[in-house]
């Protein structure tokens, strides 16, 4: 066999391997998409297709009935506005408070900061459900039941956020702050004009986590928001679904689409920050 034909054989074998690899990877990725596609497709199916013995991935008989039902028989628009507000305000408050806590734990010298940090980290180990009743009693005593602040404030000092930001703040060179101090910057100005802009990607990543977490939060907002007009999407949609074991798959899937599409858009907008935050962890910029 000539050298030329052996080379051609190698090239073709490599190409085949690459094609097989990509086919396998894209195939696996497509498998993960199937449930989402089914959710999306079912939301446009007629009742007959929804209950059909054979599951249909492509709805050949389209209807907007389930969307119409949700939009006309529920407060879904109000719930969506509420959810955006709650998630937005919680994200801003958590980022602000957590960044200040993390900064004070890493950059300021005060007695007991190590112990406080240990307590914050240890609080990871306490299941949230255990705190439910005590925190509810405190919030109730403060008169914050049925108020958005009753939902926002208990999550303001988020241990996950503090822990995550502490790790990022440790990577910021102290020389930057010293230089700023020499230029006459106050501590607050250093924090707002040097530290926070440097942490933009980390804060964006934390913001994304908090936004998604608040968007999906169920039990705590349900306890605090005691009015149907104040419900968030996850709560409101469940009130439409659950009834003596009676569930309409069309309603469930359409609710799932409505609840998840905004989140997907937020994720797509923020994903470059998320990737950058992961990249920069452990490095110094």
């Amino acid at each position: 066999m000539s050298i030329e034909s052996r080379t051609l054989e190698n090239v073709s074998s490599n190409r085949l391997r690459t094609i097989a690899l990509y086919a396998g990877l894209y195939g696996t990725a497509a498998l993960f998409l199937v449930p989402y596609w089914y959710m999306f497709a079912t939301s446009f199916m007629t009742r007959d297709l929804v209950y059909s013995e054979v599951p249909h991935l492509i709805p050949w008989d389209l209807t907007l009935y389930w969307y119409e039902y949700l939009l006309t028989s529920s407060l879904i628009v109000q719930w969506t506005v509420n959810t955006v507000l709650l998630a937005g305000i919680t994200t801003v408050v958590v980022i602000l408070i957590d960044a200040m806590i993390a900064y004070s734990l890493t950059r300021l010298d005060w007695p007991g900061r190590r112990a406080i940090f240990a307590v914050i980290v240890a609080s990871f180990m306490v299941p949230g459900i255990i705190n439910l009743v005590p925190v509810y009693i405190i919030v109730s005593e403060l008169g914050l039941v049925n108020s958005i602040w009753g939902v926002v404030l208990p999550s303001a000092a988020n241990p996950l956020g503090v822990f995550m930001l502490v790790q990022f703040f440790k990577d910021i060179p102290e020389e930057l702050e010293e230089a700023a101090r020499l230029d006459g910057f106050s501590r607050l100005r250093i924090f707002t004009h040097i530290v926070l802009p440097l942490m933009r990607s980390a804060l964006a990543a934390l913001g994304l986590f908090i936004f998604i977490w608040t968007w999906n939060a169920f039990v705590w907002p349900l306890l605090i928001l005691q009015s149907e007009t104040m419900y968030t999407l996850p709560i409101g949609l469940v009130t439409l679904q659950d009834n003596m074991g009676v569930t309409e798959p069309g309603v469930i899937m359409t609710s799932a689409v409505i609840a998840s599409v905004p989140l997907l858009l937020v994720f797509l907008l923020m994903q470059k920050h998320l990737v950058r935050a992961v990249e920069m962890q452990g490095t110094t910029k």
Binding site: Y51, V81, L85, L86, V92, I148, L225, Q226, E228, I235
Partner: protein, 435 residues
């Protein structure tokens, strides 16, 4: 602009003592103010609303009826107070109610099932002198009585019945006007459907209602689920016969599918002959669109005393230090309106059997389609003493789960009837011992 220029400008602004309000900063501030403003404008910032706070767990068909009833009271000139009704997700209703009572922030009125009364009885306002049990079906009203005090007022009872698809009956060569209301007829119909059609003959509920179906069948054979001391009482010949029968529906006769979801979907497609469900199911079968009938769920062979089983939706007033006399009176009047004046609508439109005697005798209910299709049969069973209520005990949800989990496992083919009895009996004992 070069980075050096930017830094220099920043330093200069600091030296000059001026605050550098950039365009981006202004936009951020405007965004934050806008968000807070929007929250305020939409009322999302919150506050304590005036009026009677009423927590329900009704969604779907009966949720819409309750909403309409409350709206009518609110819009009426006869009543000066407003009712703030809110739906609470079914699974979270009791957790939220409990937390709110512990936190001292309970609603003025809440819906409660009569079987849940035991755990809440010490924290409810008695309405014995204000409302009383006389206006209601006595057997149903007793569900709200504890030690001679009326702590809850019933709006309905929602027993089980046997729904059947008349179109499937016809296809199987059965007379659709001859309901399968005895064990023999049930067997005959089920066998005919399996032999003559490609459909399932029968389906029945899973989870909590699976355990209640067992309780209903067991009672018909003279057995019980619990003793008066909350000990398991189903490890008997009767208990074993009932569990064996439920096993055979799926695995011996192959009348019902192994997977309850398959059964539910097939029923909605009109491909199941018969199905045990409660009063609420009438809205589902109407939506499904096939011709249906309802009969008594007396499907257990050798049952000398067949019964249906039904819990009740009751209205309670949780105790609260913050509630003044006027608010309490408004709450009591709201309960009276919903459980008496509007009770016929609750029957004819939501499908539940009204608790009020007057509503049950009313022309508006008796002449409704719902009475003819379902409620007449349900009422007949209640009126003939063929009706039981699940008892109010401690740890209701826990011990019920200890029964339905092995039953669900048996239906899935993972457990034998003997193992179900043994596992469920151990579980029930533990559920009460944990207390």
């Amino acid at each position: 602009m070069r980075a050096g220029d930017k830094r220099e400008r920043s330093r200069a602004s600091v030296r000059n003592g001026s605050s550098s309000t950039s365009r981006r900063g202004l936009l951020r501030a405007a965004g934050a103010v806008g968000l807070a403003g929007l929250a305020g404008c939409t009322g999302f910032v919150g506050g304590t609303p005036d009026g009677v706070e009423y927590w329900t767990l009704f969604a779907g068909g009966d949720g819409e009826v309750m909403e309409a009833m409350v709206d009518e009271i609110n819009e009426s000139d006869e009543h000066e107070w407003q009712i703030n009704r809110q739906r609470v997700p079914w699974d979270e209703h009791y957790g939220r109610l409990y937390t709110s009572m512990v936190g001292g922030n309970p609603p003025d009125i809440a819906v409660m099932h009569s079987r849940m009364m035991h755990d809440y009885k010490d924290n409810l306002v008695a309405v014995t002198d204000d409302i009383g049990t006389e206006p209601y079906l006595q057997e149903v009203a007793q569900g709200g009585m504890v030690d001679g005090e009326q702590l809850a007022v019933p709006i309905d009872t929602h027993p089980f019945g046997l729904y059947y698809n008349k179109e499937v009956f016809e296809e199987a060569g059965l007379d659709p006007e001859k309901p399968p209301n005895t064990p023999d007829r049930f067997y005959e119909a089920a066998n005919a459907i399996v032999e003559n059609t490609a459909y399932y003959a029968f389906d029945y509920p899973e989870n909590e209602f699976h355990a209640e179906t067992m309780r209903m069948l067991l009672h018909g054979r003279g057995g019980r689920i619990l003793t008066d001391d909350y000990e398991p009482a189903f490890d008997t010949d009767e208990g074993r016969a009932v569990v064996q029968e439920m096993h055979d529906w799926v695995h011996e006769h192959e009348w019902a599918p192994v997977d309850p979801t398959t059964g539910w979907d097939a029923w909605n497609r009109g491909e199941v002959g018969m199905k045990i469900e409660g009063t609420w199911h009438v809205t589902v079968v109407r939506e499904a669109g096939f011709e249906f009938g309802l009969t008594k769920p007396f499907v257990m062979p050798d049952a000398d005393d067949p019964v249906t089983l039904g819990d009740s939706h009751m209205l309670i007033i949780p105790q609260s230090d913050d509630r003044d006399r006027e608010r309490l009176e408004n709450a009591i009047e709201t309960i009276r309106l919903l459980s008496q004046e509007f009770n016929d609508r609750w029957g004819s439109e939501a499908g539940h059997l009204p608790a009020s005697e007057a509503a049950l005798e009313s022309d508006s209910l008796r002449e409704s389609d719902t009475w003819e299709q379902t409620l007449g049969t349900f009422y007949e069973m209640v009126d003939n003493d063929q009706f039981i209520r699940p008892p109010a005990t401690p740890n209701v949800e826990q011990y019920t789960e200890e029964i339905y989990q092995p039953l669900d496992d048996m239906r899935a083919g993972n457990m034998s009837p003997e193992a179900v009895i043994e596992t469920a009996a151990d579980g029930v004992e533990q559920a009460f011992n944990r207390r």
